[in-house]
Point group: C2
Chain length 462, copies 2
């Protein structure tokens, strides 16, 4: 097989091989298939599930989505039969040999060598399992893959004795899972070691979300390091410096880490953010090897520097671009502004760009920031609620650097206005001059983004 791969490379094209069958991998395979109908495309996925919406897992656990199958956008059978993609589930790629242009694959029928013309590493990320005492106790869960979601849901549905649950980490997963557990009538304790939940969204968002969680009867423990989990076989308590909080179950939402071991072993460069280094086309340091999705670094829209923001759109887009490039139409993977949104019970929070002064300074910006509060509808129109907007800019150039917002309605798509302005490199003055939509049921005459622009613009001038 190896000899075949090397010997005939100049006479025929080896397949486009993809490692990992989730967002980036399957987007790449599908796009390559559409653009190159005759190309052989092989995808190796070590698990059973492919092409699924992991972002929906908290809502599956909550009970709003009936079956995990609903999270699957395209089934393995559809990929194989309708898209003519050689998708092999339960196949784990254990090594890449760039010098031979093959991957080593451990599958149900043994170990095989698979030659590749181009290779895409789309190994994704894994939930971080922090080295906390008692992390291995039964009843301590993480939530990243379908199996995790299934395990938590089965436990909740089958075990009536669960009354109290601890959540470690106030990030996306922690916040979304607080809502999910609360829907099951549980007493929820959320532990965050930082002074605010949703740290990447800034202080205003964090404060309002924490307050809202408490209104919903979630116990929010800020500035609180979890020292360990107590219990004999199953977890029975969360230990903090101040107290021992009894729990029947724990969800650890400590973030994710890119799966880089496979690439690293093959001598492929890992970037300064800890994910696989890539160029604007998703190419790694090794010829004919691409990386995309949660395992790869991307270029930040504002700083122009490598960053690692493992989110769904990025994975889909970068995968799709690599598929197109491999099919002969070089396509940039795009850059990312770190735009994100999250639902926290009845609140919506969103962010984009740079919000942190230190991070901005590292990129050479003198970050100035203002927070304003206006309404989600015209003042006289019933049903409106406050929207808080934080807008940041570079003091010397006036360039918009980022924004965050929080409110009960109209938040997630409003952040996109600022995300678009970031891509365009707009100044605050330009942002302030945008002709945005207005109707009394949907916002004030001056959209909250414009009001934030006016106030920040004034702060920069004086």
């Amino acid at each position: 097989m190896l000899i075949f791969a090397l010997g005939f490379r100049s006479f025929m094209t080896d397949p486009f091989v993809v490692v990992g069958g989730d967002a980036a991998g399957m987007s790449a395979a599908s796009k390559a298939r559409r653009e190159a109908p005759d190309r052989e495309i092989v995808v190796f996925e070590r698990g059973e599930w492919v092409s699924y919406g992991a972002c929906g897992l908290p809502y599956y656990v909550k009970g709003e989505i009936d079956s995990l199958d609903e999270l699957v956008s395209v089934t393995p059978t559809e990929f194989r039969e309708e898209r003519n993609i050689d998708l092999r589930t339960n196949h784990e790629v254990t090594a890449i040999e760039p010098e031979n242009q093959v991957v080593i694959v451990d599958g149900p029928d043994g170990v095989i060598e698979q030659p590749y013309g181009e290779l895409l590493i789309a190994t994704g990320a894994s939930a971080i399992v922090p080295p906390i005492d008692g992390i291995d106790l039964a009843g301590v869960y993480t939530l990243h893959d379908m199996e995790h979601g299934e395990a938590i849901k089965n436990r909740l549905d089958s075990d009536d004795s669960i009354d109290r649950v601890g959540i470690v980490g106030g990030g996306y997963v922690g916040i979304e899972m607080a809502e999910a557990f609360h829907a099951h009538g549980l007493d929820v304790h959320l532990f965050e070691m930082l002074p605010h939940v949703l740290a990447p969204f800034g202080e205003t968002v964090g404060k309002r979300v924490a307050e809202h969680l408490r209104e919903q009867t979630v116990s929010v423990h800020l500035d609180t390091t979890v020292e360990g989990f107590k219990g004999a076989e199953s977890v029975t308590a969360v230990q903090t410096p101040d107290s021992t909080v009894p729990v029947d179950m724990v969800l650890v939402g400590a973030g994710v880490a890119p799966n880089t071991a496979l690439a690293d072993s093959a001598g492929i460069e890992i970037g300064e953010r800890g994910a696989i280094a890539t160029d604007e086309y998703g190419r790694t340091s090794t010829a004919d090897v691409y990386a995309a999705g949660d395992c790869a670094e991307m270029t930040h829209t504002v700083t122009g520097e490598p960053t690692h923001v493992p989110l769904a759109l990025t994975a889909n887009r970068a995968g799709r671009a690599v598929g197109q490039t491999v099919a002969g139409d070089p396509t940039p993977v795009g850059d990312i502004a770190g735009t994100a949104s999250v639902k926290a019970f009845d609140l919506q929070a969103a962010r984009t760009g740079l919000l942190d002064e230190t991070r901005a300074a590292e990129a050479g910006f003198d970050l100035v920031s203002r927070t304003i509060t206006t309404r989600s509808r015209a003042g006289y129109y019933p049903g409106g609620s406050p929207i808080d907007v934080t807008l940041t800019a570079d003091r010397s150039t006036g360039r918009v650097l980022g924004a965050s917002m929080v409110g009960e309605e109209g938040v997630p798509k409003r952040i996109d206005t600022v995300a678009t302005a970031l891509h365009a490199g707009m100044t605050v003055e330009e942002l302030e001059s945008l002709d945005l939509s207005y109707a009394p049921p949907f916002g004030p005459t001056w959209d909250p983004v414009l009001t934030a622009g006016k106030v920040l613009s004034g702060a920069i001038e004086h």
Copy 2:
């Protein structure tokens, strides 16, 4: 007074005089006051009401807003006492004499001459009263000013005999008033002479809104010219070429026309769109005379040509800019993309930029357009509904020209993404590469705007 004005112009500053006390006028006066605390500022308003949200009138008629006073953002007393603005209601400016730098004002105490240092014409627009037979019958209303809103509301509240109402025109006012009348339990007939309602929003929006109106039991008569109104003293029927539709009341929503007579009489240039011609600072053809708001033309973001889009944000912003300019800090009034949104019962519709092929061709663009339908939430997330997005671009350059959308949620602020892209002059490829927010409750992974971008991009390439 005239001699005073001329004789002392070089020794002292005559006041900043504003004609018209609504959005543009009061924004200008307020901004000038903040920036120039010692400047004398005089505002003449021919009516009683100043600085009110006319966009809220349909919701006042509907009964969702209790009092007209709620539509007033700042009261006359507040302007006078807190902002030190010499606001004179019930004063009509009947002439401008640029050669003498005075305005002639007809007020409760007789006619006066008022010298000005700078003059702002903010005379607004008026509802068009089309020359239809029977337009003067009792029971035929327009809706533009507070008095109109009050008259219609009083009539509905006091007259139990009203069962059927005719609406002439399927624009903003017609659509919003259909909802308002329907809330009063009336049998509503809406007449639109074009093939679609909300013509500036394009065919996809128009069709879906009309269908939705019909689901709400509104009778929508498309392609139907109203030939006249029948009745002895009060209107009793709407006459069309095909039928006589009995009604007890009529609302004519035939659009608005800029109030340009005052400017025209003073020899100030009227532009090709029929409103007062202005430059980027809101200056008219006459020295020291500005115009802003619904009476003035503005520059279109996409075409760079004069346009007339009488909407609230534009009026506020242009007025504010003129106030700042007059106070010594020259500030452009901004350009407008024609961004707008409207609520139609449970639907939201929005538009921005150029949607019409002919209009685009006039501006030198070869407009290509695609319409896509996706969902307002992730496919698996409960409660989502279809969103239709039409995106337009110039075929040769790929530059985004405009968009419209319609759906049950997430529409108005989603159009702002495209509006921002228009201001930045983005191509479809750039639009498609935006890092927009995603979370399952708020949209699909690929935002509908991005999906529209992908499809339109494909159409341009091939």
